[in-house]
Structures are given as structure tokens and as C-alpha cells.
């Protein structure tokens, strides 16, 4: 296998210049993004978080041209704002300039959710150990990202924190290995877990509170092209003071829960139904309520042993 060039091979200034000029081209799982921005905060965060990602060029096929730009006119100076663009189109309202990197992350999610209908897309974390992949579908606020970060720091391969990509042809899971978006108290919780964690800039006052992105492990990024078959679906719920509780989920209920967490189930029509049916048929499904880190890690360890 040829050795791939990663972003780490560029120096700080080269990253800044590429972002500022023609755009920095990187592979993010099955997608290729061209990222453009002259904002120093984008450059520093991209360098810190995306270092292990494969570097490509404008001679490669590119899926998404994304950029973070300051608006023209006076708004550049008074309470500066920034916009996200997918090519020439801006799908969101502007945000304060301090939120540039989180906005880039959300924007990249948006690109995939809007345009990748060759996958069944679930709002879900996905991790793998011993060749067994676990899907953790959940709404925001259920502690999904915290759990995902915990597992990723304990030897699990991160496929995705935010989105499961399930191939409609063969039901295999594709990985993104994007940074894990942590909110509020979770940032400290994960910081305490391991000393070698690398975080992006901590951004306060977003509409979800304080946010910081955890750098994905090098080995997760290196293995991003490896697809796996789904092994289990766990619907997680963090509940303070709760002793760990695992209940097997009825298949029909799991089906409905998956639909609720899907970005594109309704658009896919029959193909979506077939994909969810196959997914549910081939996995064990449980609901998990927990509060204790050691307990929950032990449960996942046993699940895939």
C-alpha cells in the first residue's frame, strides 16, 4: 500500500496559505473536502485536529467545497460574524466569529447529510473493537458524544461521533473519524480521563453552550477506509446516580427508534426501509442507562469480547 501524505507533513504557514488561497484538500472518510478560509482560528484548529488526515490536491475528485468567510461591509468590524458556504450557497444564518471552527464542523456534517443519499445516514456515534461495530443512535443531550469519547480513549476505533454511514448496497458501516464534539461539563470529564487528549479551541456561548472538539486517535484516522459489519445497536441514556441497566430492545421498537434518528430515511423510500430492516435483523439491540464510567466501559468490553 502506498504511503499516504497527511496534513502533518505541512508546516503551520503552509496550512494557513493553502486554506487562504486555493483551499486545503483532505480526505474525510469516503468524502473529499476542499476547505477554504483566511481566518487564523480555522487554520490553527484544522492543524491541531486534522493532522492525521490524508492530504489531497486539486487534481483529485472533490465532493464538497466548503468555506468560512467574513461577511462584506461593516459587519467585519462591529461584532464580527462569519458565514459557512457549501460552494456558493450558505445554508445557515451567520454566527459570531469566535464560533468559526464549530461552524465549519457543523457545515461539513450538513454537506454529508444533504448530499450522501447512497448511504442510510443515522444521527449516531459508531465505534469498533475486535472487528465488532457498535452503533449508538441518540438525540442531542443524551450523552452520546461523551460516551463515544470515553470509548475512543479506551482502545475503541472511532468510526464517527455524529453520523453513521450505512452502505445501501451491502449494509457495511463506513468511517469518518471526524473530531468528537463535546459540550459543557463533558469537556472536563474527558480531559480528566487521559492526559494525552488533544482538544481544539474551547468556544463559549454557542447555542449548545461551551463546545470543544476532541482530536480523533491516529489509529482511527489511519484505518478510516476499513468498513465493518454492524454488530450491535445500543440506545444510550446518561442518567445521574443510575446503576447501569441494560434492557434488550424489541426489534419493532428499535426499528422506529432508528427511523427517528435517521437523516434521510424518508427520502430513501423503499431502499431506506430495506436498509433499516437488514440492519435490525443482523444486530442485537439494547437500551443502556448508566452513570458510572467504569461500569459502562466494562459493559462494552464484554459486549464485543
Amino acid at each position: 500500500m502506498p504511503i499516504k501524505t497527511t496534513l502533518n507533513s505541512l508546516c503551520t504557514n503552509e496550512i494557513y496559505q493553502q486554506l487562504k488561497n486555493d483551499g486545503l484538500v483532505i480526505a474525510v472518510g469516503p468524502f473529499v473536502f476542499c476547505i477554504k478560509s483566511s481566518l487564523p482560528s480555522i487554520a490553527s484548529n484544522v492543524e491541531k485536529i486534522y493532522g492525521d488526515f490524508q492530504l489531497l490536491s486539486h487534481d483529485d475528485l472533490i465532493d464538497f467545497y466548503v468555506s468560512i468567510k467574513k461577511p462584506k461591509g461593516l459587519r467585519r468590524f462591529i461584532k464580527p460574524q462569519i458565514n459557512f458556504y457549501c460552494d456558493d450557497y450558505s445554508p445557515f444564518l451567520p454566527l459570531p466569529a469566535s464560533q468559526a471552527f464549530p461552524l465549519l464542523e457543523w457545515g461539513m456534517n450538513w454537506c454529508i447529510a444533504q448530499h450522501a443519499h447512497h448511504y442510510l445516514l443515522l444521527h449516531s456515534a459508531v465505534l469498533e473493537k475486535n472487528g465488532k461495530s457498535v452503533i449508538l443512535p441518540a438525540q442531542s443531550g443524551s450523552g452520546k458524544s461523551t460516551l463515544c469519547a470515553l470509548l475512543a480513549l479506551n482502545g475503541w476505533r472511532l468510526l464517527s461521533d455524529e453520523m453513521a454511514l450505512i452502505d445501501l448496497q451491502n449494509c457495511q458501516l463506513h468511517a469518518l473519524a471526524r473530531p468528537i464534539s463535546l459540550k459543557n461539563e463533558s469537556i472536563d470529564v474527558i480531559h480528566k480521563q487521559a492526559c494525552e487528549t488533544i482538544f481544539g479551541e474551547v468556544v463559549d456561548d454557542t447555542n449548545k453552550g461551551t463546545i470543544s472538539h476532541l482530536k480523533p486517535s491516529t489509529f482511527s484516522v489511519q484505518q478510516v477506509e476499513k468498513t465493518t459489519a454492524p454488530f450491535a445497536i445500543i440506545f444510550p441514556k446518561y442518567q445521574a446516580e443510575q446503576v447501569i441497566c441494560i434492557e434488550s430492545t424489541d426489534k419493532a421498537a428499535a426499528f422506529m427508534n432508528i427511523i427517528e434518528n435517521s437523516f434521510n430515511y424518508s427520502i430513501l423510500g423503499e431502499a431506506g426501509f430495506q436498509a433499516v430492516a437488514e440492519l435490525i435483523d443482523n444486530t442485537q439491540c439494547h437500551t443502556l442507562t448508566y452513570s458510572n464510567t467504569a461500569e459502562v466501559l466494562a459493559f462494552f468490553e464484554e459486549l464485543v469480547s
Binding site: D60, D88, L93, A113, S181, F263
Partner: protein
């Protein structure tokens, strides 16, 4: 004027055989901004070139087709419900544009996205239908009095109605051009021969669409009265595909078009349609069409200006095609569009009122509230309403 890569491919699809990665990147970007990735697929399939498209690009094209298929399913369901309602009211409604192409199963419908269901009714039936629709959960999208009056007094349609549960939008027309102009089209000339489609099995009741010549001419009239041409190239490509289909299925289609255009005094729209199909997409015209275009050119007003507008705007509206000519053409088209909709004596008061309303709306807004959108979860951002 630089011919965009998208237009080059529409003119001569075989050039994709020599494409490198950056050509493909550019083509996909331009096609997406023109809302034409699925149209591209249509032409590449027809030219047996789809196998030459790289998988990565094909994924985007297929995703677009998945979205369109979903839309078409929704439209079929809406039509089924609407047909039942029209049947109960004993009204013959004619479906127009995108919905009509879909119901008539025309090749043009393949991969064609559209945002509203357009229907044509007799003016005296509109009140009855509007009330019936309101009872079934459709509400008017325009809430302010000025907009309501603008549509009802001057336009050829009532304000769009949206289903509060499903979000679908219906445009109810009683003519095909605004009725505040001097040259009002006698709509009965167009609707009298409407075709009854044999689709009772899927839609409960028969549906009606315009005859081929009327359908084509309506599409042309619509395109060449439009002031905002972001999707102008797709509109021209629509005419191209309709023409190819009807030239085969109809006898003397060119003559049918000329007769019809004369009858409703819309020779100019037909002239533009043929002229720009030939100029922009390099379509070969029939001898009859060529003769008509040659004759009409002698009497057509401002041909040079109109050429400047349309040859510059019938392209992908994308940062890679930007030029000063494009910007000037877009401004000209904008004012042309307004003047064609309304005579100046009505247009000036309308625009003044509109600007005043927008200004007073702007001062009311608290700037900080604007950021309350939930950007974290992509599902909060509905699929693009193209």
C-alpha cells in the same frame, strides 16, 4: 462571454471522455448551482456515456435523483387527494409545468425537480376551490394585505397555498401571464382542448394537462417573461427536451406552434425559444422554425439587448462563471421581468410600498435573535426547497 463547462457538455456530451478530475469538479459545481445534476445524468444516459462518469461524481448525481424520486412520490400522492377534491366540486383542473410533465410521463420529468404543484382553473371556480383547500389544511402563504391584493388584483394566480402538515405548495392560476397588462391572453383558447390522462388507476380520477403545443409554448412564455434567471439554463434545457419529444410524437409540431403563437399573440416567446435553443444549446432547428425565426427577427424589438441578456444569463450562475457582462445582464433581466409583469404606472407604487414594508420590518428585528438557529443538528435545516 466564456461558455461554461456545463453548457459545453450540454452541447456535446462526448467531451466528458477526455475529462480529468478538475474538469469533473468544475462540471459538478456548475451543474449543482444550476440545479441540473440529474439533467446531466439524463443527457449522459441518452448518449450512452454514463459509464464514463467517475463513481464519486455519480454518487452526487444519484443522490440528486433519489431526492427527485422522493418528490415525485409526494406529488403523486398530493394529486390523488386533489383529484378527489376536484371531482367532488365537479371542476376540471389542469395541471401545469412540473406536475404535468410527471403525470403525462414525459421524458422531461425524469430527474426534474420542482417546488410547487401548479394548476389552472377558471377564474370563477377559484373561490370555491380555495375554501375547499383551506378545509383540508392548506393555507395562504402570504399573510400581509399588500401581497394579497397584489396577487388578487394584478397577477395570473392567487397567493401560493401551503399544506400545514406536509409543507407542499400549490399555485392556483387562472391565466398564464399577469392580467394587469394590456395584452391579456384568452386562456380558454389554451384550456379548451386539455388532454385527459388515463391515470385513473393511480390517481382515482382522471387528470388533465395542456396539449403538447400549448405545453411547450407555455413553458417558453414563462421562461422569457422571467426576471430572475438563476435556473434559466434549466428552463431552456426543459424546452430542448420537450421539443425533441414532441417533434417525434406530433405531426408538424413547428407549424402547430406557429399557429398557436399567432392565435394568442405570443410569437415573440416562440421566437426567443427557438433562437436561444439554437444559439445557446446549438440545437438544430426544423426548416419551418428557421424560416419563422428569420422572418420574425426583422420585426423583433431590441434583439441585440435581448441577446445580451439571455446569452449571458443562460449559464450556470456560479462564481466560476461570474463576469461584469453577467452582472449587467442580470440587472437588465430583473427590470425587464418587472416591466413585463406590470406596467410602470402600477409597478412604481408597488415597489415603493414593498420597499417601505421591508424597511419597517427590518427595523423591528432584534439583531441578536437571528442566531437562534440550531446549527448543531442538520435535521433542523430542512432539505433545500429548490
Amino acid at each position: 462571454m466564456v461558455t461554461s463547462l456545463l453548457i459545453q457538455v450540454l452541447q456535446e456530451p462526448a467531451i466528458i471522455r477526455h475529462f480529468n478530475a478538475s474538469d469533473w469538479n468544475l462540471l459538478l459545481r456548475q451543474a449543482s448551482s444550476a440545479k441540473m445534476p440529474a439533467r446531466l445524468a439524463y443527457h449522459l444516459k441518452a448518449a450512452d456515456l454514463i459509464n464514463a462518469v467517475p463513481d464519486k461524481i455519480l454518487n452526487h448525481i444519484n443522490s440528486e435523483q433519489v431526492k427527485v424520486a422522493h418528490l415525485h412520490t409526494q406529488v403523486h400522492q398530493e394529486v390523488q387527494a386533489l383529484n378527489q377534491l376536484f371531482n367532488k366540486l365537479d371542476i376540471k383542473a389542469i395541471y401545469l409545468k412540473g406536475t404535468a410533465y410527471l403525470l403525462a410521463d414525459l421524458p422531461l420529468a425524469q430527474g426534474r425537480f420542482f417546488s410547487d404543484i401548479d394548476i389552472l382553473l377558471n377564474q370563477d371556480e377559484i373561490a370555491k376551490v380555495e375554501i375547499a383547500l383551506k378545509c383540508q389544511g392548506w393555507k395562504s402563504q402570504k399573510t400581509d394585505d399588500h401581497d394579497q391584493a397584489y396577487y388578487r388584483n394584478y397577477m395570473h394566480e392567487i397567493p401560493p397555498m401551503q399544506n400545514i402538515m406536509r409543507g407542499t405548495v400549490i399555485d392556483i392560476h387562472h391565466n398564464i401571464l399577469p392580467v394587469c397588462n394590456d395584452n391579456i391572453i384568452d386562456i380558454s383558447l389554451l384550456s379548451v382542448d386539455a388532454l385527459k390522462l388515463d391515470n385513473i388507476s393511480t390517481h382515482c380520477q382522471p387528470s388533465y394537462v395542456l396539449t403538447p403545443a400549448v405545453m411547450f409554448l407555455h413553458s417558453a412564455i414563462h421562461l422569457f417573461h422571467e426576471g430572475e434567471l438563476e435556473q434559466g439554463l434549466r428552463g431552456l434545457s426543459d424546452l430542448d427536451i420537450l421539443l425533441s419529444h414532441f417533434e417525434e410524437s406530433e405531426t408538424n409540431f413547428s407549424n402547430q406552434l406557429i399557429d398557436l403563437a399567432k392565435k394568442i399573440n405570443q410569437q415573440q416567446s416562440l421566437f426567443y425559444a427557438w433562437r436561444y435553443l439554437n444559439k445557446v444549446l446549438k440545437r438544430k432547428l426544423s426548416t419551418t422554425a428557421q424560416a419563422f425565426v428569420g422572418d420574425y427577427q426583422q420585426q423583433a424589438p431590441n434583439v441585440a439587448t435581448i441577446d445580451f441578456i439571455f446569452t449571458n444569463l443562460f449559464t450556470a450562475h456560479h462564481s466560476t462563471t461570474a463576469s461584469w457582462q453577467f452582472s449587467v445582464a442580470a440587472q437588465l433581466a430583473y427590470w425587464r421581468g418587472h416591466l413585463l409583469r406590470m406596467p410602470l404606472r402600477l409597478l412604481i407604487p408597488h415597489l415603493m410600498k414593498k420597499s417601505w414594508l421591508q424597511l419597517s420590518e427590518l427595523t423591528k428585528k432584534e439583531p441578536d435573535k437571528i442566531n437562534k438557529v440550531d446549527a448543531l443538528d442538520p435535521r433542523f435545516h430542512q432539505l433545500d426547497k429548490e
